[in-house]
Amino acid sequence: MVKYLLKRLMLLIPTLLGAAVLVFFLLRLVPGDVCEIRLAGTGLYADPAEIALCRKDLGLDQPIMLQFFHFIWGYFTLDLGKSMWTGAPITHEISLRFHLSLQVAIMATTVAIVIAIPFGIISAVKQNTWIDYVVRAFSIAGIAMPSFWLGILIILGLLIGTQAVFGEPWMPPIEFKPIWEDPVWNLSQLIWPAVATGYRYSAVATRMTRSALLEVLREDYVRTARAKGLPEKIIINRHALKNALLPVVTIIAIEFAFLMGGLVVTEQVFNLNGLGRLFVESVGAQDFNMTQQLVMLVVLIFVITNFLVDIMYAWLDPRIRYS
């Protein structure tokens, strides 16, 4: 088991290095210039000398390999650099937004698990009944509907609904307050994006739970358990579900990692100052420093999540543990 974990841990290093090389050089291929956008983005004349000065300030006049060296060296000195747009330290910009994105990801994952696991089990156990059809229709709708669109519908529904009932339109807060500061405010803002993204997320997990459980329920050992006269509840909960959860755990973990940096549109719909919005703004402003550090953060989250999934696999499947 220790050998297995060490092997997985060692694989992180080349993965992160490869990602760093790719993200750094691919970003440099994108046309555009942060200084042009900053100094002449509003159509004003920008003196070429001013643009050159801006590029010098940002270190963009240095040879590309030197810029790459500074980028990599930053990880050894724990200095991620500064945003090319705001000039603020990147660690500060990210830490401002990290807990919001983390909270939305946790809430959306909770919503997804609460919906997906029971619905997936019911759908598998009641295969080809009306209950199964309803669950499948619900989950297909979730996959088909983009979460940002659902988010827009939620906001409009709240505005129109509350105006019709109370006379004054109400919408969720557009400013973030941490849950320890004002839990009511916090939840009334974040519950809606959590539901919007959690629904789509649950739809994928529901279908995965259903198909994995159906497959396991056809296994010989389940037939044996039934032949022994074990109650159906024990067969499903103790013998079938644990094995069926392997692919479901993978899906949930990947989706969780995606939520940490991938809610680019949903965060804009609900005006969440999270990592996804920061990502979009950085790309739009050609803020290479910020963009590459955000990509690396997402890569790191994916890598760590996968590592945790590997550990969970070992816990769920003894064959991995004892191999």
Binding site: D33, E36, G41, Y45, L53, A88, H92, L96, N271
Partner: protein
């Protein structure tokens, strides 16, 4: 439905009444207190007005600073009405043949850190803007090319000495980016300190900025205008999406967005909230242009460029596009409401501004045939922003197709758009724009000069440069106006170097309890907030 239309009509009438009859707002007694919440799309790169160019900075940071002079906050729609902010009395008239401006500075004004304001602060500020030391950026240095020196005969007098008389000096001085900084700050902290720190003499003091979320200011009790500001503070909330900003006003999470919304958003808000929404509208000192690339054939041929402008039915375009986009007014090179702007009669003499579109299109087809490119095929390069670029770009393509041209559109995200427009210059015809703050026609029309840094047509036109030099040298307004007509005719009609589509139109629907704010012809102006109050 009919109820909604009735509400819309009533509210528009109320809003228009407020906007046009500005006196009604003045008639009310301002109330003190409250926090103004407004939404700002876009992020401010830094707090330093002297190096930034975006309204996203102005909307957030302008309330913390004062200017030497400013656009009259009670009459911001008049392009030539300037008043003292930190100076005393009226804006001074020039002496010594129009080359010397002497400003008396208000006494008793304090920076937020308690430092008293003197003429040395004004000099230090304008030295930084006009004569920055090597390695120090200044975005509007070129606005002050006429300035020879800034001197301070005493603690409360500042003298600007010009190399030659120019009508563009006072408007340049009133540019809302010219925040007055403390000399002490510049001396002690250097020229980059204001990028990340705020210490002004404005109506509000800085409290907190959570990047990407909000910026907060609190009332400055020592503000130099007695009895102002009315608000206890303000909160500028970052809202990246226009749709969200509109809903934020509808749901009263914010009271106003100062940049402006499209007509549909105005109509939706008014239909939903009736008289709880007030609308102010104004011509906007932004013009949407199309730039043919003179380095590419056949756009090096004036006949082809003339055909492009002749194909556009601006008068009907104004009628229909103004219902869906933030454009409206048909105009020439000068902001339409300015005394130097062309009248409709003068405009109709220009190619492409005639009212008989069939005749114009027939002429366009004839010109294309003469140039050897009947059925001209090209790509319109456009910016990936809906308002007004993609909407107007699509309209232009339709207009050109009606003239027998075969046009497709390449839409690029902003960084790529600028890269193609400014660096690669590989486009056939590109959309472009000219957005300025204070209306300053003599400076603004340089956009049409091939030698101008923000002209991307890649052409040289010495006769046009000569006309412009004559405009600069002329001290007589009537002569300047006549010369500007010559300039306009050559730039837009005879050579058709650039094509003007329509001038932008600013629409600000906001919560009716916000009082005192008056729309200006630019989203950069009148953002000091010292006259805004809440009727709550």
């Amino acid at each position: 439905m009919s109820n909604a239309i009735a509400k819309l009509a009533v509210a528009l009438a109320v809003g228009a009444g407020l906007a046009l009859g500005a006196g009604s707002a003045n008639a009310e007694t301002p109330k003190y207190g409250g926090i103004l919440k407004f939404v700002v799309p876009g992020k401010a790169p830094s707090y330093d007005g002297h190096i930034e160019t975006t309204y996203a900075m102005v909307h957030r940071v302008r309330p913390f600073y004062s200017l030497l002079i400013r656009v009259n906050p009670d009459n911001p729609s008049d392009p030539s009405d300037f008043v003292c902010d930190l100076c005393v009395g009226d804006v001074p008239k020039p002496t010594e043949g129009g080359t010397k401006y002497t400003f008396q500075i208000q006494q008793g004004v304090k920076f937020h850190d308690g430092t008293p304001l003197t003429s040395a602060d004004i000099k230090a500020t304008y030295d930084k803007i006009i004569f920055p030391p090597e390695g120090v950026a200044s975005a509007r240095k070129s606005f002050f090319k006429a300035v020879e020196s800034v001197t301070t005969p005493d603690d409360f007098t500042v003298v600007f000495k010009l190399k030659f008389p120019t009508g563009s000096f006072i408007p340049a001085l009133a540019t809302p980016f010219n925040f007055v900084y403390s000399k002490k700050d510049l001396d002690e902290h250097g020229y980059t300190w204001h990028k990340s720190h705020i210490n002004g003499t404005g109506a509000f003091k800085f409290v907190e900025h959570q990047k990407g979320a909000f910026l907060e200011g609190v009332k400055n009790p020592d503000y130099h205008i007695k009895g102002r500001p009315y608000l206890d503070g303000f909160r500028a909330i970052t809202s990246a999406k226009m749709a969200l900003s509109i809903q934020a006003i509808r749901g009263d999470r914010a009271s106003i967005e100062f940049r402006g919304f499209p007509p549909k958003a105005r109509d939706d808000l008014v239909a939903a909230l009736g008289d709880k929404i007030t609308v102010q509208e104004s011509d906007w000192n932004c013009v949407l242009l199309a730039t043919p690339n003179h380095k590419k054939k056949p756009f090096d041929d004036a006949r082809v460029r003339q055909a492009l402008t002749l194909g556009l039915d601006r008068w009907s375009g104004s009628k229909y596009l103004s219902k869906i986009a933030i454009v409206k007014t048909v105009g020439g090179v000068v902001f339409p409401k300015h005394k130097f702007a062309a009248t409709q009669e003068e405009l109709e003499k220009l190619k492409g501004y005639g009212t008989d579109i069939n005749a114009s299109r027939a002429e366009a087809q004839k010109l294309l045939k003469e140039a050897g490119v009947p059925g001209l095929k090209f790509t319109l390069h456009n910016r990936g922003v809906d308002q007004p670029y993609k909407v107007v770009g699509t309209w232009m393509i339709d207009q050109w197709k009606k003239t027998g041209m075969d046009v497709d559109q390449q839409v690029n995200p902003t960084p790529v758009f600028y890269d193609v427009l400014r660096k690669k210059k590989t486009f056939d015809v590109s959309l472009d724009f000219n957005c300025q703050s204070v209306i300053n026609p003599i400076a603004d029309i340089t956009k049409f000069l091939g030698s101008s840094g923000n002209n991307y047509g890649s052409y040289t036109d010495q006769p046009l440069e000569d006309i412009y030099n004559n405009i600069l040298k002329s001290g007589d307004e009537a002569e300047q106006r006549r010369l500007i007509r010559d300039y306009e005719t050559r730039a837009l009609s005879d050579q058709a170097h650039l094509l003007i589509s329509l001038w932008w139109y600013k629409i600000n629907p906001y919560r009716s309890y916000v009082k005192g704010w008056k729309i200006a012809p630019s989203h950069y102006l009148n953002q000091h907030l010292d006259n805004v109050w809440l009727d709550q």
